[in-house]
Symmetry: C2
Subunit: 439 residues, 2 copies
């Protein structure tokens, strides 16, 4: 899809551009920053996701004739502004944490440098993408921890909007999920897809035996049979009778899982189906996955809870102006003073402080001198630089895009989580596992 | 956008079709049903939304060469099934509650009649759309009740994925919101859009005065000025000084709202700006909107809470087979027996029982005789029929689509809520306001 993404935008972004063009302030150079004031759900760390999607969407952020005529017909902005929008494309720079990186309160996960007008227009889209995708990745990362070495598949497409479903599959995979049920996520982002059959398939047939036989005839004995439509022990016996001990797996989607799983495992073993795996999919979240740690489960399928962020369906990321040039071309740091919503002005650079053993100690944020340009080359002893160039003079770094970008993000995430103190793995509510320090 | 929607689908829908084609059961006539087992968040009623979107998406549910070759390359299904998918389009019937209607546990909000193969394929897409849109509409309806006669605008685009943002604006409008910040929702669905400026606009300028003047110069004195960037009383005084008493509105986005709103109203009145409205937008939900009922607020802007369903980010709708033809062409009711997930088999018709004064008393669900065809013409004394034909022989009723469909849904919602007992308006958790009765 190459359709314009420019209307995934709040109307006020355009009216601000309109007013700033009139005032002669629209072309002041600005620095905007995306950050969260706190971690949603009192989690120990957040996970940034959505960056690769955002780079694609910014590429398509153009006002074509369809958009321009709608704005004209609805008198949203002046004719002069419509002319300016016709030529719009983002030509500035965007730096950010690489996708998959963990973040903490105040972490400048995205820094946008450009004119006021070109930068403010991206606010709504950038936040839509990063807030949703990061909410999913943050929840998913906890589930992956809870599952230990067992694979988890994402299968929540039906519980969120049809496009969000694709983004959720992608974010969960970045956070360490093994696969998804969603075909579009497979096609667009190269994520392994999985799934065999639902209860409807069993119910369609005249008997469970007919259904199992039909599935095995087509998908082979290595398939996963759903065994809880009627009676689990009867279905397990039937499944092994038909498929033989080479039956790939059985799926259990209901009941008191620790008890049922133990019984099914014993039954499978007694039938000689020692290699037949057990996968469970009954409204799981990180807590129920953790509870099943001692049960002979081989893999998990997680639906609802991951696509809705397991209690925190959005992250609280905001997109704030932190510096701009004044009339004389001098840089000025700015910050609003609204009660409870104060922000820290000034361009920032972020580093993760590591112990000698490589364990994360703190998120160090250096508020740059106002004249300071972003520099990657700064070396900080005992610190890992967190920000990379994502878009330079309007051109995105292709490494962070597409299926390749997803793989890179998945690696980044695994490495960053491995670096965190062990307390990061706690599922209880609490403080961020490392402090944020302004330097 | 006319791109294929066929991949917004779980892989198992296709593998089931594959196995059923092999088994010769794929073309059995079936009845599937969408319903919720309970109301998410222990609300008193649910609100169905998404139907009009779903009709569009089903129209585009085709497997084009791009989809077919991906399925072939990834060996998802057999060649025979790929050939069948190439010709796929839904040719059956869909009945349902009209969009905007309220629902209760077990309400058959959508009934799909067709062959197994053609009907099962739509499961994921139908649930993605209805579960998200209905979660938003259900939360939004409570907010509208809490706001009484004051208008609410939806401005949560930044807190959910970019496409969900459009769906959320649409669902909130159906539930009675007055407007949205989202431009795409304005264009695609005819929803009024609103918004003027953010804190960044004030911070861009050398002074608040310069910012306010710039905004008024472009948007006129009837605009809404954001007054909490620095100091509220100073900003209110400045706003009236520049715009005069014809200033449209001031927006407050932070602080202890009941106190601040009262002070701002007194200040505006003391400055002669009696007609200047006050709009508030500080992380509101239905509870904080209700709390502000006695404050001199003129309108609300609601963001995060509405797009994430205010604590219930999805509804628990499921898509279940309830009847099918057997080998002999006889209809058989079917239902799974999984623990805690049992379903009621058989084709259903639903009516709302009304008292003599027109107040809803019960959701009456008639489980039809297996040979019964759906009939609209049934008249039931003291009951209102709830199901309408949405798609007949594959062709959607255009009245339910586009901007016209949104208006119809908004009217349906208002009428259906007006019919509910007063207890439906309670914001506390509790039982559904009317019982569901199977007849």
């Amino acid at each position: 899809m190459n359709a314009s993404t420019a209307f995934f935008t709040d109307r006020y972004e355009l009216t601000m551009v309109d007013a700033a063009l009139t005032a002669g302030t629209a072309h002041r150079r600005c620095v905007f920053e995306v950050f969260s004031r706190r971690l949603s759900g009192a989690r120990r760390y957040g996970v940034l996701a959505g960056t690769g999607r955002l780079l694609d969407l910014i590429d398509r952020f153009r006002f074509e004739e369809a958009e321009l005529s709608w704005l004209r017909d609805n008198e949203v902005v002046s004719t002069r502004t419509i002319d300016w929008l016709a030529d719009y494309r983002f030509s500035g720079n965007i730096f950010g944490y690489p996708e998959g990186e963990v973040f903490f309160p105040g972490s400048p996960v995205l820094t946008i440098e450009g004119t006021f007008a070109e930068s403010v227009l991206l606010e709504t889209l950038a936040l839509s993408v990063l807030n949703y995708d990061s909410a999913v990745a943050t929840a998913a990362s906890r589930m992956v921890t809870a599952a230990g070495t067992r694979p988890i598949a994402e299968m929540g497409s039906r519980r969120t909007g049809e496009y969000n479903a694709v983004a959720a599959a992608r974010a969960a995979y970045i956070a360490g999920f093994a696969a998804t049920s969603n075909l579009e996520a497979g096609r667009s982002w190269g994520i392994p897809t999985m799934g065999t059959a639902a209860h409807a398939f069993t119910l369609l047939h005249d008997s469970e035996e007919q259904a199992f036989q039909a599935q095995i005839n087509t998908l082979g004995p290595g398939t996963t049979l759903l065994v809880d439509t009627y009676d689990i022990p009867a279905a397990v016996a039937l499944a092994v009778k038909i498929a033989g001990p080479e039956l790939g797996a059985v799926r259990i989607d209901s009941g008191d899982l620790p008890v049922v799983v133990a019984e099914v495992r014993a039954q499978l073993d007694s039938l000689g189906a020692h290699n037949t795996r057990i996968t469970v999919t009954n409204d799981l979240d990180e807590y129920s996955v953790a509870t099943l740690g001692a049960s002979p489960v081989d893999s998990y399928g997680v639906g609802t809870s991951v696509v809705v962020g397991s209690g925190s369906p959005t992250t609280g990321m905001v997109y704030k102006i932190v510096a701009h040039e004044d009339n004389n071309g001098e840089w000025v740091s700015v910050a609003k003073k609204s009660q409870d919503k104060a922000s820290v002005g000034g361009r920032k650079r972020a580093y993760r402080e590591l112990s000698e053993r490589g364990v994360a100690q703190a998120e160090n944020i250096y508020v740059a001198d106002e004249t300071d340009e972003h520099s990657e080359s700064d070396s900080h002893k005992g610190e890992r630089a967190l920000m990379v160039p994502l878009i330079t003079d309007g051109v995105a770094d292709s490494r962070y895009r597409g299926a390749e970008g997803v793989q890179l993000a998945r690696q980044r995430h695994a490495a960053s989580v491995a670096e965190l103190p062990l307390q990061a793995m706690r599922l209880t509510r609490g403080d961020p596992v490392i402090p944020t320090q302004y330097r």
